[in-house]
């Protein structure tokens, strides 16, 4: 699929604050008791890219990144 972006979560850095969950609840979750966030899916569509970029910026632990998947 064109325009898809891969979501990368570094669980060694993640503090489980959940800032990303408030921005993209259908991509990130912080289950009760979990010290780190989990990915509900690891790809987002082109139209979700602004939200993903915002989540990446907003992560205080710098635990999020994105990458263009190989076509």
């Amino acid at each position: 699929m064109t325009g898809q972006v891969e979501v990368l979560l570094d669980t060694k850095l993640c503090n489980g604050y959940g800032v990303c969950v408030t921005i993209m609840p259908d991509v990130f979750d912080t289950p009760a008791g979990s010290p780190v966030a989990v990915l509900l899916r690891d790809r987002v569509e082109a139209h979700e890219r602004d939200d993903l970029d915002e989540a990446i910026r907003a992560c205080p632990a710098q635990a999020l990144a994105s990458s263009e998947p190989p076509s």
Partner: protein, 415 residues
């Protein structure tokens, strides 16, 4: 593409979350000239929120979380000068003067010097500790381990996070606050009440509705005189009574100040070429904020910094309108809030139950929707956030709640 061809030299004062985000915004906006970031601390830029949220309770030596690796700074061709505290700004000749005596030239300057904690002096004129830097963290951790008992003056977000971290680790905590209901303005009354009870149930000794008249003594033996006539004795005192903008280095520079650098909606100060971002900036106009305000939350620093960087790069004056957001974690519970609660707001519980510690509360008055605060319901916030972003009405917010079929017919008043 930059529309700002005359711009070759941008200086960012402050290696802060706002300053670094401004640098990223400059690059994102197509500016490819020189970017120099002046940092006053000797540490590589690190994430401050973790100091109170996580590192206080960590085992072993706390590891600072880097905000930017050297690789990332190099990849964006950003020059970071640590140990360069700015002491003056020359707006005629376009220099930032540092305490080392350097004059750093600029075509545009972004002020991101942040804020610093207010503190109190003892009667012996010693400054009482605060929590802002890794050195402060070290001192607090040492004191907690040594004395097993700590008194916190001020129950803002920082004070409450420290209380939660320490009391979860067998440290006796006394929390003194002038208001009866800590964080009421941030969380709203019903949530603030729940949080207060949470602290009580974890054994934090809350001395509320009293002010501190004076503190004497030193580490190991302090006496805190309270407005109710009593004296509280404690081994260690830490102060968390708010912050002041780091703007005094601009006194006399010609940049307009009023407890912060006054900026318009685009982030511009009154002097051409001078911008400010993050918690040093006092926003003269913002759609979610009723009056001029400094916003002291993390994501504001990030978003406002980037926004100003984009405007500088593009030669644009796009108004900043991000909805204020905060989060805090206490006793394993995660609180998130969007918007700004006003004193006359009504509170409406739309999800969960307050005593379940999983709930979402909306705040508004008349047809205005002002804020949404969640404990453990972060997943539901997105919709309300979107409504706040487009200045949607109370009705639109409530419609969202009914779509989710979770409306409780419970109105809670903030008074």
């Amino acid at each position: 593409m930059t529309n700002n061809e005359t711009l070759k030299n941008v200086v960012i004062v402050g290696a802060s979350a706002a300053g670094l985000s401004a640098a990223d915004g400059l690059r994102e906006g197509g500016y490819d000239g020189r970017v120099t970031i002046l940092g006053d601390e000797q540490h590589e830029p690190y994430d401050r929120p973790t100091l109170s949220k996580k590192l206080l309770a960590s085992q072993g030596e706390p590891q600072l979380h880097s905000l930017r690796t050297r690789e990332r700074l190099d990849a964006a061709d950003l020059t970071l000068l640590l140990g360069h505290r700015a002491v003056g700004l020359d707006v005629d000749r376009h220099y930032v003067v540092t305490e080392n005596g350097d004059a750093v030239p600029w075509d545009a300057v972004i002020i991101a010097t942040g804020s610093r904690p207010r503190t109190l002096l003892t009667t012996e004129a010693e400054r009482l500790p605060v929590l802002r830097t890794p050195a402060d963290l070290h001192l607090l951790r040492q004191a907690a381990a040594r004395y097993g008992e700590v008194t916190l003056i001020g129950a803002g977000l920082i004070g409450l996070e420290i209380a939660a971290s320490l009391s979860g680790h067998q440290v006796e905590v006394t929390l003194i606050n002038d208001l009866e209901l800590p964080l009421r303005q941030v969380l709203g009354a019903p949530v603030a009440e729940e949080l207060r009870e949470l602290h009580r149930s974890h054994g934090v000794d809350l001395l509320l509705g009293v002010t501190v008249e004076g503190v004497s003594g030193g580490p190991g033996s302090y006496s805190v005189e309270l407005s109710n006539g009593s004296t509280h004795r404690t081994s260690f005192v830490l102060v968390g009574i708010g912050v002041d903008a780091n703007d005094e280095w601009l006194n006399g520079s010609g940049v307009a100040l009023d407890a912060g650098v006054l900026v318009d909606a685009a982030g511009r100060a009154n002097v051409p070429g001078v911008w400010a971002a993050g918690d040093v900036a006092r926003l003269l106009s913002h759609p979610s904020l009723p009056e001029s305000t400094r916003v002291e939350h993390w994501t504001h620093a990030i978003e406002h910094g980037r926004h100003v960087g984009l405007n500088v790069a593009r030669g644009s004056a796009v108004p900043y309108a991000s909805v204020p957001y905060f989060w805090t974690e206490q006793y394993g519970r995660r609180f998130h809030g969007y918007g700004r609660i006003r004193p006359d707001d009504t509170a409406l519980l739309v999800e969960g139950a307050l005593d379940d510690h999983e709930y979402l509360v909306l705040y508004g008055s008349g047809d205005e929707f002002h804020a949404a605060v969640s404990c453990g319901c972060a997943r539901s916030l997105r919709g309300y956030r979107k409504v706040l972003e487009r200045r949607g009405s109370w009705r639109e917010a409530l419609d969202l709640a009914s779509h989710a079929d979770v409306v409780h017919d419970v109105a809670l008043h903030t008074h």
